[in-house]
Amino acid sequence: MFNFPSQIRIPLATWIDQLMDWVLAHWGAFFDALGDVLLQVLLYIEKIFLWLPWFVVLILIGVVAWRALGRWWHGLIMAALLFIIGAFGYWKLSMMTLALVTSSVLISLAIGIPTGILMAQSDLFESLFRPVLDAMQTMPSFVYLIPALMLFGLGKVPAVFATIIYAVPPVIRLTNVGIRQVSKSVLEAAESLGSSSRQILFNVQLPLAFPSIMVGVNQTTMMALSMVVVASMIGARGLGLEVLLAINRIEVGRGFEAGLSIVFLAIIIDRITHALAAKQQAARR
C-alpha cells in the first residue's frame, strides 16, 4: 500500500499517439507538401554552400571575423580553424552541417521574432506562451525527433523541423525581453508625439531591442548547431552522422576528429554572432 496506486494512470502517451495518428491521417498531405517546399529550400541553400570554393569560404569567414571581432589575427584564427576541419577531410560534411544550421536559423528567426513581438505586446499571450517555451527548451532534444520523423520521414526536413522547435525559444524570449525593456518614458514620449503603435514598434521598440534580439540570434544559432548534430540520427547528413558512425563502429580517432570539427564550427559561429551582438550594444551607449 506504500506503492503508488496502479489503478491511477493518466494515459497521456496513448492520447498523444492518437493525436499523432489523427494528424497523420488528416493532415498528412499538408505535411508532405510542406516537407517538399522545405526540402527545396534546404537543397538550394546547401547547393550554395557546396558550390563555393573552399578558399573563398576561408577568406569570407576570415574577413567577417576580422571585421566583427576587431583584430586581424582573430580573423586568421577563425580561418585556420576552418582550414583544420578541411584538413581532417570533413570539408564537405561541415558545409552540409553549416547549410542545415543556416536554414534552421533563418526559419527560426522568421518564426521567432514576430512571436516575440506578439508576446511583448500582450501580457496574456506572454503568460500563456512562457510555459510552452520552458517546455520546448527543457524537453530532451531527442523527443522531437520522433514526431518529426513521423511527419516528414527520414532526412533533412525532419532534422530541420526538430532543430527549429529546439532552437526557436531563445530568440522569442529575447525579442520579448528586449522590447519590454524599452524604457517607459521613451514610449510615453513617442506616444505623446502622436506615433501609431506600428510607428512605435518599428521606430522605437525594435531598434532599441535589437541588441537583445542579437543575443537571441546567437543563442538560437548555437542551439541549432547542437541539434543538427543530434538530428543526424534521423538521417541528416553532416558532421553529426560522422560521430554517430564512429560510435557504432567504436572508432575513437574518427569520432574525435568529427567531434573536434563540430567544436571548431561552434567556436567560429559563436564568436562571430556574439561579437555582432556586442557591437550593436556598444554602439548604443
Binding site: S185, A189, A190, S196, N203, R285
Partner: protein, 410 residues
C-alpha cells in the same frame, strides 16, 4: 515674479478642464456614482482598492498663459497633465482644447492633436537613445508625415531656438542633463504646437542648471507666446514662472490664484506650510542668523583703548554696552578720532544711540527694511535690552540664498 506684470495673456481661453475625474482600478464608474465620490482618498482605497487620481478638477488656461500645477508627489498633478494628452484616459469630465472636447476624440483625431496642437516635455526627457539630436527633434514631424527636407529644416530651427546649434549629430547619451532637456523642449516645439505641457522638466537637473533653464524658458515664452502648463513640486519654481498657480492635494485643486494670492493668503494649512517651507524669510528668525560680535565695547573704556581695539579687530564701528550688558549705542572710528582730538576721556556721551535693533524673534523678512534704513549692522537685543548678537547685511542675504538652495534641492 515680474513676469506676471510684463506678460499679459489674452482673455481668450485656450484650454479648459471641466470636472475631470480619474480613478485607477477595476470599477471606477461605481465609485463615481456612489457616495464614496466625496470620501477621502484613503477611505476609497481601503473600501474598493481603487486609487483616486483626480477628483472633480476644473480650471481654464488662457492663451499665452504660463499655468503652474503644483503639489507634492501623489497629489495628482502628473496624472492631470497626462490626461490633457490622454496619455492617461480620464474616467469622467471633459477637456476642451480650443472649444473641442478631446475626450470624445477617436484615434486619428487624437493622433492629430498630439502631432500638431499639443507638445509635451517629460521629467526623464524620454529621448530616443538611438536617434541623433536632429532625428529626435524631427521625430514628431516624421510620424506626422512631414516630408524629410521640411522636417529637418524645422527641426534645425527648433534646435537653434533652444540653443543647441552644432549638436545636431550627437546622440542624446553624450549630452549633459540640461542639454538633453533642451532636446526634449526642441522636440516638443518642432511641430509648433499651441500648447506646451511640461511635466517637472527641470526636476532632474542640478540647481544651477535648473535656474538657468528657468530663465531661458521665460525668455522663450516671451518670444514664442505659447500656452504653457507646467507641473512642479517646487513652489519657488511655481512662483518664479507662473502667471497663475493651481495647488493640488490628493487629486484636488485646493487653491488657484496668482503667485501673490498664494503667498499672501494661503487657502489652508497645507498651502501655508508649502509657502513657509519655500520662503524662509517669512519664518526664519533673527535668532537663527545672529552672530557673536567680533568686538564688543564697554561704556567705561577710553577713546585710546577703543581706537586700538577697533583697529586690531579691523572694524569701522562697534556696539557699546553697560555693565549689565545692556545696549547703549554704537561708536565709530570717526567719533573716536574726534574724541581723542578733543581730549575727551570717555566715549560714554558720544555714542550714536539711534542704532538699528531687533529682537531674537524678529522674522528675517522684517529685517530687510531695518537693514536698508541704516548702514550699520543690526543689534539683536533681548527683552531687557541686553545685547545678544549682531546681524550683518550680508548674513541676511546669505541666509536667504542658502535656504533657497536647500528647498530647491528637495
Amino acid at each position: 515674479m515680474q513676469n506676471g506684470q510684463e506678460r499679459s495673456p489674452g482673455n481668450e481661453v485656450c484650454l479648459e478642464v471641466k470636472s475631470l475625474w480619474k480613478i485607477f482600478g477595476p470599477k471606477p464608474e461605481e465609485i463615481l456614482r456612489s457616495e464614496l465620490r466625496r470620501a477621502p482618498k484613503k477611505e476609497i482605497l481601503d473600501q474598493t482598492g481603487c486609487v483616486l487620481g483626480l477628483r472633480d478638477v476644473s480650471f481654464s488656461v488662457r492663451k499665452g498663459e504660463f499655468f503652474m500645477l503644483m503639489g507634492l508627489s501623489g497629489s495628482g498633478k502628473s496624472t492631470c497633465i497626462r490626461c490633457l494628452l490622454r496619455l492617461i484616459e480620464p474616467t469622467a469630465g471633459s477637456i476642451l482644447v480650443e472649444g473641442e472636447d478631446i475626450c470624445g476624440y477617436d484615434k486619428p483625431k487624437l493622433m492629430h492633436l498630439r502631432r500638431h496642437t499639443i507638445g509635451m516635455v517629460f521629467q526623464h526627457f524620454g529621448l530616443f537613445p538611438h536617434y541623433s539630436v536632429a532625428d529626435n527633434v524631427a521625430y514628431g514631424l516624421k510620424v506626422g508625415g512631414t516630408p524629410k527636407e521640411e522636417r529637418y529644416e524645422r527641426a534645425l530651427k527648433a534646435i537653434e531656438t533652444v540653443g543647441l546649434k552644432g549638436w545636431e549629430d550627437y546622440l542624446p547619451g553624450s549630452l549633459s542633463g540640461g542639454m538633453q532637456q533642451r532636446v526634449g523642449i526642441a522636440r516638443a516645439l518642432a511641430k509648433d504646437p499651441e500648447i506646451l505641457l511640461m511635466d517637472e522638466p527641470f526636476s532632474g537637473l542640478d540647481p544651477l542648471i535648473r535656474r538657468e533653464m528657468q530663465d531661458e524658458l521665460v525668455e522663450l515664452q516671451d518670444k514664442l507666446q505659447k500656452t504653457i502648463i507646467f507641473v512642479t513640486h517646487d513652489l519657488h519654481e511655481a512662483l518664479k514662472l507662473g502667471d497663475r498657480i493651481a495647488i493640488m492635494r490628493d487629486g484636488e485643486i485646493i487653491q488657484l490664484g496668482t503667485p501673490e494670492d498664494v503667498i499672501t493668503s494661503p487657502a489652508d494649512d497645507y498651502v501655508r506650510d508649502f509657502v513657509q517651507d519655500a520662503t524662509p524669510s517669512k519664518v526664519l528668525t533673527a535668532d537663527r542668523i545672529k552672530e557673536e560680535p567680533t568686538l564688543l565695547l564697554y561704556e567705561w573704556q577710553g577713546p585710546q583703548v577703543v581706537r586700538h581695539m577697533l583697529r586690531s579687530a579691523r572694524r569701522q564701528n562697534a556696539f557699546v554696552v553697560n555693565k549689565h550688558h545692556q545696549l547703549l549705542g554704537l561708536v565709530t572710528r570717526e567719533i573716536v578720532e574726534d574724541l581723542i582730538k578733543r581730549g575727551v576721556p570717555s566715549i560714554k556721551n558720544a555714542l550714536i544711540e539711534d542704532v538699528p535693533t531687533c529682537t531674537s524673534e524678529t522674522i528675517v523678512e522684517d529685517l530687510f527694511p531695518i537693514a536698508t534704513s541704516s548702514h550699520f549692522s543690526i543689534a539683536v537685543v533681548d527683552g531687557r535690552g541686553r545685547f545678544v548678537g549682531e546681524i550683518h547685511d550680508r548674513t541676511i542675504l546669505d541666509s536667504m540664498i542658502s535656504d533657497k538652495e536647500e528647498t530647491n534641492d528637495v
